[in-house]
């Protein structure tokens, strides 16, 4: 009897331990997922309107992170600065400046490398995007060097313990900023005139043009918003990933996978896909009892599974092909 209850107690403890362990994984995954979501938004918006994968999106993220870092360091003196009101303000200033820069960069890239290809075959803009991605990442490596740089925390980053779960302020900031950005974007797309024009253009470009929508402007705006979000994603990712010229490649690829899982072309889908992928990466390997080195395999296997079961993604609409 006694040994039985002891056994039960041990079992309970073990179970509680496992549950907190998984809660911790999920908290970690949420941070990762929030970053993926932000970046996935850019992919999904461009795909929604132009039906092409903007492979340079990940590199815009990298440029955003570099610009943000440079401005932040110039304003505060970098690592030496003590976190305070000024550093937080400087952080937001550098984020806004970086968003502006990346918006312009995104529009410029669209104008130069994609716009002339709008009526070419599907491969052409894709390869042009790969070319732009090469230029951006290697240009950055040329200018800044290949070493990683640290983005100093603009605020005190002492871990917060909630029960057995630990979370740091920077993780909270990442999640909060992502959510704010997504809410802003959703309300922009659903409430404003320009947002309406965007939705119209993604449904049918020719018809919306006939309705008096300036499709070129809508596309430019899409790139601007997507790139600005990438800049935010880049700066937030910089806390966790550091800043280096190839930071956008794998992050961009994963974010893109997130966009597809959620249903490419769908803004809510990108958010859900991002969060899902982030949690999956954190939980997948321990759940399946495989080495953590295989987490990319888990992520991509889920991608293929989703594509097989529901190719249009979780929230995607099943579009009938017109003959």
């Amino acid at each position: 009897m006694l040994s039985g209850s002891l056994l039960f107690k041990q079992f309970r403890e073990k179970e509680v331990g496992t549950i907190t362990l998984y809660l911790q994984y999920i908290v970690n995954g949420l941070t990762l997922g929030a970053i993926y979501s932000l970046i996935a938004l850019g992919y999904t918006m461009v795909y929604g309107i132009l039906k092409f994968i903007n492979f340079a999106h990940g590199d815009i993220l990298m440029v955003g992170a570099f610009i943000g870092l440079i401005i932040y360091n110039a304003l505060t003196g970098g690592e030496a600065a003590d976190p305070g009101a000024w550093t937080i303000l400087a952080f937001f200033i550098s984020m806004l400046a970086s968003m502006g820069f990346c918006a312009i960069l995104g529009m410029a890239i669209e104008r130069i490398a994609y716009k002339p290809l709008r009526n070419a075959n599907r491969l052409a803009p894709l390869l042009s995007a790969i070319g732009v991605s090469f230029i951006l990442s290697n240009g950055a490596a040329w200018i800044f060097g290949t070493q990683s740089r640290r983005f100093p925390y603009p605020f005190e980053n002492e871990p917060i313990h909630i029960g057995a779960i630990t979370i740091t302020p920077h993780q909270i900031v990442i999640i909060v900023v992502s959510v704010v950005m997504m809410v802003l974007l959703t309300s922009f797309v659903s409430k404003t005139r320009m947002g309406k024009a965007m939705r119209a253009a993604s449904l049918d470009q020719s018809t919306s043009m006939l309705m008096g929508i300036n499709v070129n402007r809508v596309i430019s705006l899409t790139f601007a918003i997507g790139s600005a979000l990438a800049a935010v994603g880049g700066i937030l990712a910089a806390f966790d990933f550091r800043v280096y010229p190839s930071m956008g490649t794998m992050t961009g690829l994963k974010a893109f996978v997130a966009a597809v899982i959620g249903g490419i072309g769908n803004i809510q889908g990108a958010m859900i896909g991002g969060i899902l992928l982030g949690i999956l990466e954190a939980v997948g390997a321990p759940l399946l009892h495989i080495p953590n080195g295989m987490r990319d395999t888990v992520a991509f296997a889920v991608l293929i599974l989703v594509l097989l079961v529901k190719p249009e993604g979780i929230l995607g609409k099943n579009e009938r092909e017109k003959v």
Partner: protein, 395 residues
């Protein structure tokens, strides 16, 4: 369409002409050419760039002092991008176009394995400053004379992990360790080697977690390790990964000591994770006690490269260059076989990393140093060797 092809062909011919014109000057007789192969681009380029900088510094110093019997040294650095095929192409270029008398590099293990085969076959001396995998010096000598042409100025990971395992068990007194390593030749070799030694001594590796090179999020692994409650965590990875691991561990409240390997000697770590390096103990190259070569080198390196600090691999590369220069000086010829004989005959070479000798297979024979980081400065604990299954402090 024909025009396009013609244009391409003309471009080829023109470039070939330029090349032919450019390469004819290379065969002048008053320089010794030394090749360098390492990653100068790519994510881990910082290791390659530092090694090539150090070799260049050594070459410049030797030339400034009058060269070798009046002949100047010339260093030709080639980019391997850290991949096998690019490293082989670099080798081909150095061996056949420049006809170098020795090669420093490749920096990473996999390219080093590929290039070592070719060096053994063609009979060109190769000294790697940083390829730690035990197989690098295990390549069969396929040249007609059956001589070994592959050397390294970095200890084999078998040696380093043996010292590490003994030090952790015997000196630090740990019995339960965890390891978190990247799936690459360097980190895996060290982690498995350490585990073998440590478990043979009676210790236990309670958690063994892996990641991929380039991973940025280690929270899952660290959470798993935390649940296994080890006394210390061994992280034999490259700087970028180690910096992330240290920072995320601190954020997750993993408050145990971290142990690392010579990859940690890259001072980059103190830029990336300055707040989290305190207390890390790592095994690296031994230091000569009463010699100023190392401090002189570090000062010269900082002066030459904008205050950048060299890591232990760069120091190895610097030593390798001086070993080759000394061999050239004794051989008085650029003949690859004579150079090899003199490199192999290197005895008690006094370098920045202390006294160096080569074993018959080209491996470095040296003690291992142990460092403990205080704040952001590594403090030298001493140099150690494993003798008769027990660790002995040498000095």
């Amino acid at each position: 369409m024909r025009k396009a092809i013609a244009l391409v062909l003309v471009a080829f011919v023109c470039l070939a002409g330029v090349v032919a014109g450019g390469s004819s000057e290379g065969s002048s007789g008053d320089t010794y050419k030394i090749g360098f192969i390492g990653p100068l681009t790519g994510d881990n380029a910082n290791y390659g760039i530092r090694c090539s900088n150090a070799a260049r510094l050594a070459v410049d110093e030797i030339n400034a002092a009058g060269g070798i019997d009046g002949k100047m040294l010339e260093l030709i650095a080639e980019d391997s991008e850290g991949t096998v095929d690019k490293a082989l192409a670099s080798y081909e270029k150095l061996a056949y176009m420049d006809e170098v008398c020795a090669i420093i590099g490749p920096v990473f293990t996999s390219p080093a394995l590929a290039v070592a085969q070719r060096c053994q076959e063609d009979g060109i001396v190769m000294i790697s400053p940083s390829a730690t995998h035990k197989d690098v010096t295990a390549q069969p000598a396929t040249n007609p004379d059956g001589l070994n042409y592959v050397f390294r100025t970095v200890p084999s990971d078998a040696l380093q992990s043996e010292v590490a395992g003994h030090y952790f068990y015997e000196v630090l007194g740990y019995r339960k360790l965890a390891s978190l390593y990247a799936m690459n030749d360097y980190s895996q070799g060290l982690a498995l080697g350490m585990k073998e030694t440590f478990e043979a001594l009676g210790g236990e590796v309670v958690a063994e977690e892996t990641c991929m090179v380039g991973d940025k999020d280690f929270r899952t692994q660290l959470t798993q390790i935390k649940a296994a409650a080890p006394e210390a965590i061994y992280i034999p990875n490259y700087t970028v990964e180690d910096a992330q691991i240290l920072e995320q561990a601190s954020q997750l409240g993993v408050n145990v000591r971290f142990l690392s390997s010579d990859g940690f000697s890259d001072p980059e770590i103190y830029n990336l994770a300055p707040d989290f390096t305190d207390g890390v103990i790592y095994v690296g190259p031994a230091q000569a006690e009463a010699s100023t070569i190392l401090t002189d080198f570090q000062a010269a390196y900082a002066a030459a490269y904008n205050g950048d600090a060299p890591d232990s691999f760069a120091t190895n590369s610097y030593d390798a260059t001086y070993i080759i220069a000394a061999a050239l000086d004794r051989a008085e010829s650029a003949d690859t076989k004579l150079v090899r004989d003199e490199v192999a005959a290197t005895k008690d070479f006094q370098g920045a990393n202390g006294t160096m000798n080569f074993a018959a297979n080209g491996d470095l024979v040296a003690s291992q140093g142990v460092y403990e980081v205080e704040g952001i400065t590594p403090v030298y604990v001493g140099s150690f060797q494993v003798v008769d299954g027990h660790i002995v402090q040498v000095d």
